[in-house]
Amino acid sequence: MSDFTSNFWSVYVAGITLVSILACLILLWMTGRKKVMSSSDNTTGHVWDEDLREMNNPLPVWWVWMFIITIVFALLYLVAYPGLGNFKGQLAWSSANEHEAEVKAANKELEPLYARFTGMPPDKLAADPQAMAIGERLFMNNCAQCHGSDARGSKGFPNLTDADWLHGGEPDKIKETLVKGRNGLMPPMGAAVGTPDDVKNVANYVLSLSGSPHDSLRASLGKGKFGACAACHGMDGKGNQALGAPNLTDGIWLHGWGENAIISIVNTGKTNQMPAQAEKLTEAQIHVLTGYVWGLSNRPGVSKP
């Protein structure tokens, strides 16, 4: 009821509720006192539409008691639970509280299940089928929305199976990514690089780093302008995991491949976010998930492209 600025609607709703219950009680009491004349054929003597007659079938008294029970129940309910306008009820129940309690109870129930995993290093986790089954379900529910069911990502969402890492692929780093999330920021560099033609040259130089198809003349012209990029991506273009600057030499193009895609990124920059999971998942869940994600590119038998 916090949606209303005045107290009027609260009083209005509470009033209608209580008056309705009272009206039910009065109706019961009045009909209990009422007597009707029953004619000799056990009808009430009322006739409609020529021959439609109303039989006199009195309501069993136990049924009346059920009505009374519902009225008593309604009043007790309204005392205990929120129902009368703004009144929160004696039990202070709310759906948010209940949800929280349920999550807490479920996590408590899961604790012994995770207890076995909390001490395990990630490589042990990745080899444990039960941990991986749990990890897979956690991944499907929390990660697959962006990274895909097969963890191979799509444009803008990194592939987690290819051993190429923006922020580092060590278990500690993966866990840090999960707990705190990551913000990838590439500022618009068009002006710093120079004229649009310079940007095009740099783009070709960047393509040449991974041996992708490029214009070698423009690439050699662009090399000199790459200095603006080197602060983050390094002089050799191999990136910097401490900054989350991608390796430009490995032929992996998170935000699109080709000259146009690179020009557009240089000119407009890019902000990409991995949301933090610490609020959503328990520590034990994040630990298992770390093992799962690490295992995607490190498990024996997993093909590395």
Partner: protein, 476 residues
């Protein structure tokens, strides 16, 4: 010899002689049904024994390593003898319910409220509770006397014994009911060690309480005021439906008589007005007033009237199963039976038989696993190394057998379409598993857009096979 001596003529439901003032509420008089023997009573006890043997016995049956019939709600598996059913098999429950409803229609059209009189749990448990009551407190007149009597040690002992036994049966019933949803042997251990779960406790005692209340106290009130079936069953009646009827032409005018007197000369019918038919009636009506909505068709009045007729040497069947047409036209057994095969009955029978056959066939040819194909929610289509287009799917494979199975995934529908991920999956007994499947298509093999494809899933080394539709997306 006069008919069985009765203390008093039971007042028949008050169609008041003149207009009187009545209340809109009425307390219900307690009914004390007299015990009855006869062919219909025997039938009822046979059905009680049969239904309860099934109800109380079924959860204790074993099938391999598990309970033969178990509805495991927590893990959503329904075990019925050799079958493992998933919630996706809900259609079978629908089928059973439709068959049950049509059976009810059929039986009712042929012979009235057979269900109510013989098989309904309300009747069956009332019968069991009445049997206990009769053995503890005595028959009708003894029970009436006991209820009227002042409180005494004897009354206290009898009442307590009765309620003790009732509660025993009720809790056992509740326990059995819960035993269909949680393994009954473990439940038994938990019960005796007082460590049942809170929901188990709730359901054992709630179901037990409902049994105790309905069979011990509410009884005919349930049929008269609560039961919806009772109301709509009359829609299945016609003039050729067998109902328990009093032969008015033969019985009236009713009246007591000495056996030595020629009643015909006195102008009397064959009803000796012993009122036994009223005393045995579990809903407290007088069948001689004709067909009434309270009548559950149990045939107790027919049974008791036959014993009276036999004693005084009149032909049986003054109260009997017959049809309204039969009664008016004085038809015999053969003529009644001939009218059973009328269009309404034939239509019900045809639909019922067709449904039963359809149900059986679908159970026999049922593929013992299921597959759901879900396209990946994140990725529409992507280009991977080797110039191939990749689409990602998630397949839920549900094993409906009780052994571990390996399934092989194949795909068809587009030239060059192949499964790029592991094509085999192993699923444990009665488990389901999600697997990720990646499909590859050579770039440029087909035009851009959505292309229908089929997943073919089969057991390795078996013949069971399922085909599921999906689409492969190619960027334009």
């Amino acid at each position: 010899m006069s008919p069985t001596p009765t203390p008093k003529v039971v007042p028949i439901q008050p169609a008041a002689e003149q207009a009187v003032e009545v209340s809109l509420y009425a307390s219900q008089a307690k009914i004390y049904p007299r015990s009855v023997t006869g062919v219909f009573a025997q039938w009822r006890w046979a059905v009680v024994a049969m239904t309860q043997l099934v109800f109380y016995g079924l959860p204790w049956l074993e099938w391999g390593q598990r309970q033969a019939v178990l509805f495991d709600l927590a893990s959503r598996r329904f075990y019925i003898f050799g079958f493992v059913l998933y919630p996706q098999d809900f259609i079978y429950l629908t089928g059973i319910l439709v068959i049950s409803a049509l059976s009810l229609f059929l039986f009712t059209a042929v012979a009235g409220r057979l269900w109510c009189g013989y098989a309904c749990p309300q009747t069956v448990y009332t019968e069991i509770f009445l049997w206990i009551e009769r053995h503890v407190e005595g028959d009708r007149s003894a029970r009436m006397r006991l209820d009227k009597a002042d409180m005494s040690l004897e009354k206290l002992v009898k009442k307590w014994t009765k309620h003790f036994l009732w509660i025993g049966v009720a809790i056992w019933t509740g326990f059995t009911f819960v035993g269909y949803f949680t393994p009954i042997k473990e439940l038994g251990m938990e019960f005796f060690q007082a460590r049942m779960g809170s929901w188990e406790i709730f359901w054992v005692f709630f179901y037990g309480f409902a049994t105790y209340g309905n069979a011990g106290f509410m009884r005919e009130q349930v049929c008269k005021y609560m039961c919806p079936y009772a109301r709509f069953q009359s829609a299945m009646f016609d003039k050729d439906t067998m109902i328990v009827s009093y032969d008015v032409a033969r019985g009236e005018p009713r009246g007591p008589r000495s056996k030595s007197v020629d009643y015909k000369a006195k102008g009397l019918g064959e009803c000796v007005d012993c009122t036994l038919c009223v005393q045995v009636c579990p809903t407290g009506i007088d069948i001689r007033n004709g067909l009434q909505y309270e009548c559950i068709g149990c045939g107790a009045c027919a049974d008791v009237c036959d014993t009276v007729m036999e004693k005084i040497g009149y032909p049986k069947g003054l109260v009997r199963y017959t049809t309204q047409n039969g009664l008016t036209n004085g038809w015999g057994r053969d003529q009644l039976l001939r009218r059973v095969l009328r269009p309404r009955v034939l239509v019900y029978t045809t639909i019922l038989v067709a449904l039963c056959i359809a149900m059986l066939v679908s159970l026999v040819v049922r593929v013992p696993f299921k597959v759901d194909v879900v396209r990946d929610r994140a990725t529409l289509s992507r280009i991977v190394e080797g110039g191939k287009l990749e689409n990602v799917y998630r397949l839920q494979v549900m094993n409906a057998t009780e052994v571990s199975q390996t399934y092989r995934i194949k795909v068809s529908g587009l030239p060059g379409l192949v499964v790029a991920s592991e094509p085999e999956v192993q699923v444990d007994a009665a488990q389901s598993r999600w697997m990720v499947v990646r499909l590859h298509l050579p770039y440029g093999a087909v035009s851009g857009g959505s292309h229908p494809i089929h997943f073919e899933i089969g057991t390795v080394g078996g013949s069971a096979h399922i085909s599921e539709k999906s689409v492969f997306l190619v960027p334009r």
